[in-house]
Symmetry: C2
Subunit: 418 residues, 2 copies
């Protein structure tokens, strides 16, 4: 449909609810991700209200500056669905009933035992010269309209309907216009601040000038997105891989995973690989470690966990000694060790892990600031201990502590500590 030139794409999401922050713009993010993976360069993402004049002005500006515009929303049966009329005005054409669209709408409405109402047949109106995109999942059809040198695809706002229409009808039509010359690797880091990472990677940009490095804080990690584009896919991939090797050499253990590898996934995989069974004892993390590990299937290695929030639970369930609790306090290396060893014993596992700390916002004591965490990994040859004062909110301290425990578990299983 398009020539082999590289075109820039603009995304337009239509809906007043988006401008009010009432809903997340999942259509925009999903389309941006899909188009990037196809090899397109998204030059603009805009959101506009359900308002005829604003919609016309925005659509006109985007079609003046981009070869391809993909718009979602505003195709429904209600009076605040204005996209079709706006697109027709921009292209300088009239609206006319599309009889294929009308037949499909009638069929779908009868299927659900309903009858055709005024709003429904409005959905069969298309700009004259527009090409119908049938909706296999709902009533509102989409359409393609060409005006000047540009093309706009108007898709429904309902996420599932939009996804199907994009995958089945838009992708086959636009695929040929994608450059397919980009490559990205995402590396996950834990520990240092963004500026520490940037410092170490600054000269990487000088040595690999066509490679970009993006930083994104996600939960307890900072992700690095290492990206290159052109002259073709193989060369972009090779350049990214060289930059990734260089980044790994400079950052060492700070990088813990790549792509969809979360720390929980990696730690779980390490336990499974060793053929061991795992038990968990959580205090300050309150179930978060168990939750992260069980986000993927885990029943082949995870026996169970105890969230021993009160001291009485630490003692009665996991056999932490009352003397240790009195002598060192619940947040101590000694209690972390007894928790991990107790979990290992009680659940009858090869390895037990624990975390005890002060997540905040209250609970600090002399010498024990908010954010202090102790954690342990108990295994057949002994018990590994670590501690740190984590910064941030209650939730951030919990996420950082969970990450640190799983990282120690993974290192221990990798043999560094055994």
């Amino acid at each position: 449909m398009f020539g082999p030139f590289v075109m820039t794409v603009a995304l337009l999401t239509i809906g007043t609810e988006l401008l009010r922050g009432e809903v997340a713009n999942i259509n925009g993010q999903w389309l941006a991700d899909q188009l990037t993976q196809l090899g397109f360069d998204i030059a603009a993402m805009e959101t506009v209200a359900d308002h005829h004049e604003k919609l016309v002005a925005t659509l006109r500006r985007l079609l003046d500056t981009h070869a391809l515009v993909i718009a979602t929303g505003g195709l429904g049966p209600t009076t605040d669905d204005l996209t079709t009329a706006a697109a027709a005005e921009v292209a300088g054409v009239e609206l006319a009933t599309n009889h294929d669209a009308l037949a499909t709408i009638k069929h779908r409405i009868e299927e659900r035992g309903d009858e055709l109402r005024p709003g429904h047949d409005k959905q069969a109106l298309l700009p004259v010269g527009g090409e119908l995109l049938p909706n296999t999942e709902g009533t509102a059809p989409g359409f393609i309209l060409r005006t000047g040198g540009a093309t706009v695809y108007c898709l429904p706002g309902v996420h599932r309907e939009m996804q199907h229409m994009f995958e089945q009808q838009v992708v086959p039509r636009i695929r040929g216009a994608a450059s397919n010359d980009g490559y990205t690797v995402c590396l996950h880091t834990f520990g240092p601040h963004e500026s520490w990472l940037a410092d170490r990677l600054e000269s990487l940009k000088l040595e690999h000038p066509d490679v970009t490095v993006g930083y994104q804080a996600t939960g307890s990690s900072i992700d690095l997105r290492i990206h290159a584009r052109g002259p073709d896919y193989a060369q972009a991939r090779d350049r990214v891989k060289r930059a990734v090797d260089e980044a790994r050499a400079r950052l060492g253990d700070v990088i813990y995973g790549e792509g969809d590898q979360t720390m929980a996934l990696l730690a779980g995989r390490a336990v499974r690989k060793r053929g061991w069974r795992l038990a968990i004892a959580e205090s300050c993390t309150g179930g978060l470690i168990s939750h992260q590990l069980t986000s993927q299937p885990a029943s082949d290695y995870l026996v169970g966990g105890a969230v021993t929030y009160a001291n009485s639970a630490k003692t009665s369930l996991l056999g932490v000694s009352e003397d240790t609790l009195r002598g060192h306090g619940a947040v101590s290396a000694e209690v972390a060790a007894e928790l991990a060893e107790g979990a290992r014993r009680v659940f009858d596992c090869e390895v037990g892990i624990s975390a005890t700390g002060i997540a905040g916002p209250t609970g600090a004591a002399p010498g024990k600031p908010i954010g202090l965490c102790h954690w342990a990994v108990a295994h057949p040859d002994g018990t590994e201990l670590e501690q740190r004062v984590f910064s941030g909110t209650r939730s951030q301290v919990q996420y950082k502590a969970a990450h640190a425990v799983l990282a120690l578990l993974r290192r221990t299983l990798a043999g560094n500590n055994l």
Copy 2:
């Protein structure tokens, strides 16, 4: 700072990762929601790449057409942080080191035991004539810049830093310019699909034509945003309140909370109010219920929990009978009851809760489909039992089950089941 006229606002989120769909635009949605609640009318939301020329062109266009532009991102220490230079170019001014900003950055870096490096002092560069917005949560300061008749607020892209700066420094400055004639209530629902809710609320729009209803799926819930605007705050509030009463009458128990009330918060509050102590037994939810309850401080009522993933853990830790497991299977009402009763007994609490089910993606058995969950609340007068087959992914089944358990706990404590 601004006159009493109503101004339109544009939001600009800066970052190539957003245009690639790599991350959700949480800053954009959060700011849109906050500004709407303050009474502003968001006229445009745009996202632009970390690219100097594109950033300059977009910022210039937005400042030409809107009185107030709020931008986030691109203020960090790295070479792809370009917002300050772009804003200076648009305003036609130079950059100069702001010594207050530099002193704060130095202080913050020393605090964390680091030393000042080139990228850091770049963050102290501000457009000449710009007003510093100190960053109380990180190193990148924000700033205000006036050009022509318009004003741009440049805030950091790190969500928490941006939130603090907006709440503490931006809101006091812009509040006077808001129309303050809008009112929104957010109602949380659990159970029915969006189309079921929309069906029941359709005529609400006819009876309250100036009230809008937005729908947003969040985790296990669907949130309803009921919003009205003008002619003044009191009238908007009254209209929203009438519509909320009507929605509550039509939807009944489907609405479980309002505003920042999560089900975990409400259930925790109900246990605390009764003066009881709580114990948790989780199987399919794998720690999620404990995690949700301990996201807020919970040590005054939560004694602990057991994640009894393997059958051996159910038996050894919580005393579930091997006969029950053999006779009914781990996913059964009988095991749910024994888990809740066991947790109550072992942790020595007034109330014990449990969940056992098949979260998927595998594990179905004859008569036990994926998504089947049984849960129980054991209390001094007996044990309440419920079951359901939840749809969705592994994660969705876990979130729905956790929600349902906490809902039963809350209802039980409210006395409906006692």
